[in-house]
Structures are given as structure tokens and as C-alpha cells.
Symmetry: C2
Subunit: 380 residues, 2 copies
């Protein structure tokens, strides 16, 4: 298996981009990533996207490659719900690791603010089980609310403790020029925000976002394209039942745990080695169960730990210096690529927001309510 | 790069499957493929699908893996319009070739007959360019009709010559138990069928189809799972502009040519070595330009060749002994997987329809109007 390096990254600001098309948004991220490698032409492109069907467009790999001047290269789109960016990174990794391609561009792109919000929320619910869940009218927030209530009750976790996650994320995100929500908030902001699906309130949830991020992958032969190549030391994906009612456990993300264990084993690293991580905090409860499933906290303890000040910049591990999904935003199919781009910049020491000294980084991108999870280990 | 073998295949009959869910349809193909390898559990699943959004379901890899009893393995969906099955095969290949996974299941699944036909036709048009083509109301058949008229005029090809393709396909498909349209037709059937988009008539076009196909891929270590492993000797994908108006040429499928050239080079084979091929005859015109782009016929000569009896069972190469998209049917995201499964069975000598002696086989799956093309070379 050939070693795989990230030698270029590019991002657009996350936010509302109704004035540009999806292909233009992707092209901005691609252009930024290509700039970092002297515009060395890639041989393949992997596009991560979930909901371009909302704007009646599929065949995104051909569309985006052509618009970026890359006609004739290999191209495909991959999807794993909100974890589409993560599986795109995995697919790009496989292309280079196999030896079939030497220079691969992975781009995640999503436009959620193009359509009326009810249509978008309906689209996001396609990540759940249409036959066994959506038929009951449950929303994606509703499914996460079930877990939040169960978790709070089982582990005696206070609502205020969970809410402090959002406060910490906004503290980080306010310094990230790519973030969507760049304002500090207080505990009261969260507790007094409108109920979305009890007990989840607006500020427990990430925003709807547009955005695109790209990474350029290559092998040992081409890593000189960058002075600061970052090694993908491990990568693993695992799937779980989309339907919550058939899960082994409501408060453990089985696929998150498997994916993290496998990626760490592949990288010959322990969770204790991780200096910085970007995890998938779609809701405050998702942050808690993700941190526990990865192994950054014991069962039921994550919210207690962050309430005591853990995971802040300077701590090991620092979690979500970007501001996470909560503040940076969650352009669904792009999120997993943003995470890798951000952690690469942390390891290179050039992330323009909260920067922490780091040699080992981890990203975890979650699709559905933990049904498609990809973990990536990055090493300077 | 590790060698990759196909050691199991499974298919459902192509046709109308409104009585079963998408996950059940996929499970039937998976179960058939797993039967061939003694139910050896795969480590990863790749799902090829284009239009599950029509039934409000994404996250198919998790959904299908879980339903097939494969919770916890790696899973992702890939899409390249009507070429989704082809890119799924490529992705499965990369998984095994990289060494990251040893046993990989690739399943293509599509249900096009679940929704009213106008909705489905609209969905299929997502393969075209929403901003630059669909805005004018052109359908997918309409785009192919432009090419057909141009081709007939440029190369002085008669309408009757093109129509004979469909007659040949139905002759083959009538013997294929998995085919959707198992009736012989005459030249008059094609010429007198209703106009879809002039000059394309109903019998120039493939039907709308439901279906699922699966292949099981593995490496040298595990090829003993089958007594008759078939080597993937070459595989390559190329993309072109989805928007016809910006093509280099209307009557050559640039991506088809590139993809075939690259796959043949990788396999160290010439197009003359190919004994049997399954190509993407979505329309009679698609058959002609595909045969020419791959190199099975000179420019403008394909329809003349098949009018003279070439490409029939027994000829080298025999093209589409399955009946092709025209008669076997075209369950979009599954088609590229059907093609590989069929050619594998030709090479093993156990295809239950028209069977030709063959040592080298080729498949080519086309997304959009030639905008996402994957070619696979298979060897006994």
C-alpha cells in the first residue's frame, strides 16, 4: 500500500452563497487547493455531496471537473449522507494508495440555502430510513432529540452541561475566517433559544450551510509538491443501521467507535496521541456521544469534561478549534473535507484561526445519526 | 498494486419490481453473489445508484449493508449518472488493489418504475447540465436525438441501419432469463414505433427498469473462494462535459475513447483481443458512437457493420450477448454492475443466455451523454 499525503488544501467561507452556482463554489475551493501545488494537474477527482438532487443536478464529478478545466480525468461522486465528505476522503485515499493514480483531488461541496428551508430539511431527512422512520414524520433533529433525552436521563447529565459545548464552539469559531457563525454566545443564548425538537434548541444545532473544501492527495513520489506534506496515517469507515429503532444501543455510536478503532490501529496510534481533532457536532448531543465513542471521554462523561474546561485550545486533545459544525457550519457533503483541510493546516501551523501545537490530528465525519462514519488520522 | 479478481456474481431479473423495496432488491443480488463464495463476509460494500432521491432515500450504503446483515463494515455510495455502476466497480477495484480491504462487495441498484414516468424522466435528466441544458426543457432523449441526426447526416447512415441494432439486441435478450424485454422484434417494429424525440423512436431507446446486480471482488490470497476467478485486467474512468454544447465533437464520445484506451493499456491488451463485450446502448445511436469510440469500428461505420451481420453471437467481438440496455434493460445505477457480472459469466462459461467462447471481455458503462464513462477489461 502506497503512503498517501495531503499536499494542498482549499476552502470557501462557509455561509450563504446563493449568488454563485454549485460548480463555481467547488471551483473556488479547487482553485485554492491547486494554488498550493503549483497547479499540478490531478489525474482524478472525487466529489463528496449529498443533496444536489434538490437543485435537479446529478453527475457532479463530470460537471465540476469540466468547469475546473479538468475534462478527461477520472471522476466520481460519493455519498454517505452527512458523512459524504469523509467517504470522499477515503475514496481519494484508495486511489493513491492503490497506485492507480498519483495525484487526486477530493472536493466536498454542498448548497443547502438554495431551496426553501422545509425542502432542505426534508432532503436532509433522506439520511434516515424513509420506510421505517420518515413515514412517521420524524425529523432529523427529532431523532437526535430522542438520543439527547435518553442520554441525559441515563447518565444524569444536565441540560446546561450539554449547552456549554455551543458556547465553546462559538469561542473558537469567532476567530476562524472561514466560519459561518462568528459571534460569541453565552449559556443563556443556548438555553433561551427556540425549541427545535425538545430537548434540542436552536443553539444545540449546527446551521444550514453552503460551502466547498478541497484537498490534494499524492504519494511519496510527488509529496515534494509541498514543503509541508501531511501523512494520512490511518483512515477507516464503518456503517450502522440508519434506523434508530434497530440499533444495538441508543447512546453509543457503534460505527463511530469501529471507525475510530480501525483508523487508530492502522495508524499504530492511540487516542492519547491525538493533539487536535475535528469531530462531528451536528448537535450538542452528537458531540458528547462522538467524543465517547472515539475514546476521548468515558461513557456519560463528555459533557462533564467540557463543562470543567477540557478540550479547549491548549488542552490535549483540543477539539474543534475551527468552531466545529456548530460555528464553522455544516455544508453537508463538504464537512468531512473541511475537517481534514483544517487539521492539515493545524499540523502545518498555518490555520488562520485558533492554532494549537500539534503533531497528530484526527477527524471524524458522521452521516445520518451515526450510520456512516469515517475517521482519518493525520500526522506531520 | 494487488491483483483484483471477481469471484462471485448475482443478479435479479431486470423489470418492474414495485412489489419489493430497494433494499430487498439489492439483498437478492447480494445474496446470490454471496452464495457463490460460501457466504464469506465482505469487509466493505460499494453501492452504485443514481436516483434513490426520487423515493426520498439517501445513505444507501448503510441501509443496504444493514439489511443484508453486514452492519459495521465499510460502506459508501458512488454516483456517475447512468454510469454509477461502472464507478462502483472502479471503487471496489481500488479498495482491493490498495490492500486496505481483501473482500469487497459491489452492488448496483435502481428502481425507476416506483414513481410516475414524468418524475423519473425528469430525474434521469439530472445527468445533463441543469443550468445550461435543462433550463431549455430538453430531455435526455432529446440530447441523444441531436447526436443521432448529426451522425446520420455526417456519415450518410440510414435510419434503417441504426434500427437494426435493436433487432439484434432483442434476438440476444430473448434467451437471457434476466432480461426485461424478452421478445423478438422486426425492423418494422422499430421504424413504426412512436417518436420519442425525432429521429429517436421508442424502439431506439432502452426501457425504464428496476434491478440490482452484485459482484464480489477479492485479491490473490482469497481467489480460492471461487474455482473460476476472473481477473480485472484493466479499469479506467474518464469524464467529459455534461453540456453537449461545449463538447469537442458531437459524434465522438471523448470520455469513452479515453476510458477504453487507458483500460486497454493497463491490461496490456488491444481492442482486437476482445472476444465479448457489453456496451452501453441506451439508444441505437449510443451503440454506434460507443463502438466507434472504443475502437470496435471506424468512425461512421458501426451501423454499417452491424447491418452486415457483425457483432452477432459467434463473431469476434460478440457485442451484448445479454441483449444490452435495449433488451436486458437499464436499471441505471446497476447497469455497469450487470455488465461486469454478465461478462464474468461469459468467461466462466455459465451465462444462462447466449453464450460465446471467450477469454477476454470488455464492459463499458456510460453516464450522461458520454460524460462519465468506465471501461473494464476482464480476463479468464
Amino acid at each position: 500500500m502506497r503512503k498517501v499525503y495531503v499536499v494542498g488544501v482549499g476552502m470557501t467561507k462557509v455561509g450563504k452563497h446563493t449568488e454563485v452556482s454549485m460548480r463555481d463554489l467547488a471551483a473556488e475551493a479547487i482553485s485554492n487547493a491547486l494554488d498550493e501545488v503549483g497547479n499540478e494537474k490531478p489525474e482524478a477527482i472525487v466529489v463528496g455531496n449529498m443533496l444536489s438532487s434538490l437543485v435537479e443536478q446529478e453527475n457532479l464529478a463530470a460537471l465540476i471537473a469540466d468547469h475546473a478545466g479538468l475534462r478527461g480525468i477520472c471522476g466520481l461522486k460519493v455519498e454517505g449522507a452527512c458523512g459524504s465528505g469523509g467517504v470522499a476522503v477515503l475514496t481519494g485515499y484508495l486511489m493513491v494508495a492503490s497506485g492507480l493514480y498519483s495525484k487526486v483531488l477530493v472536493v466536498g461541496v454542498e448548497k443547502l440555502l438554495e431551496r426553501p428551508t422545509p425542502d432542505t430539511l426534508r432532503g436532509l431527512a433522506y439520511a434516515a430510513d424513509a420506510d421505517y422512520e420518515l413515514i412517521y414524520g420524524v425529523s432529523f433533529a427529532g431523532l437526535n432529540a430522542l438520543i439527547m433525552r435518553y442520554y441525559m436521563s441515563k447518565y444524569n447529565v444536565k441540560r446546561e452541561e450539554l449547552a456549554l459545548w455551543s458556547v465553546m464552539m462559538h469561542q473558537n469559531g469567532v476567530k476562524n475566517p472561514y466560519a459561518q457563525l462568528r459571534n460569541e454566545i453565552t449559556l443563556e443564548t443556548v438555553l433561551n433559544s427556540p425549541v427545535v425538537a425538545d430537548p434540542i434548541r436552536l443553539y444545540d444545532a449546527c446551521p444550514l450551510s453552503d460551502g466547498a473544501a478541497a484537498i490534494y492527495l499524492t504519494n511519496e513520489d510527488w509529496k515534494k509538491l509541498s514543503d509541508t506534506p501531511v501523512l494520512i496515517a490511518g483512515v477507516s469507515n464503518a456503517v450502522d443501521s440508519p434506523d434508530l429503532s434497530s440499533r444495538f444501543s441508543l447512546d453509543e455510536l457503534f460505527a463511530s467507535r469501529l471507525s475510530a478503532e480501525n483508523a487508530l490501529r492502522m495508524a499504530k496510534l492511540s487516542v492519547k496521541d491525538v493533539d487536535v481533532a475535528e469531530i462531528h457536532d451536528a448537535y450538542t448531543i452528537t458531540a458528547a456521544v462522538s467524543l465517547e465513542s472515539i475514546g476521548f471521554a468515558e461513557k456519560g462523561k463528555a459533557a462533564k469534561l467540557w463543562s470543567e474546561g477540557r478540550f479547549k485550545p491548549g488542552d490535549k486533545p483540543t477539539i474543534n478549534p475551527s468552531g466545529g459544525l456548530k460555528s464553522r457550519g455544516h455544508p453537508v457533503g463538504a464537512t468531512g473535507v473541511y475537517q481534514v483541510a483544517e487539521v492539515v493546516m493545524q499540523l502545518r501551523g498555518d490555520f488562520p484561526g485558533v492554532l494549537v501545537p500539534a503533531e497528530v490530528g484526527l477527524t471524524q465525519n458522521v452521516g445520518g445519526v451515526g450510520s456512516n462514519v469515517t475517521t482519518v488520522l493525520l500526522k506531520r
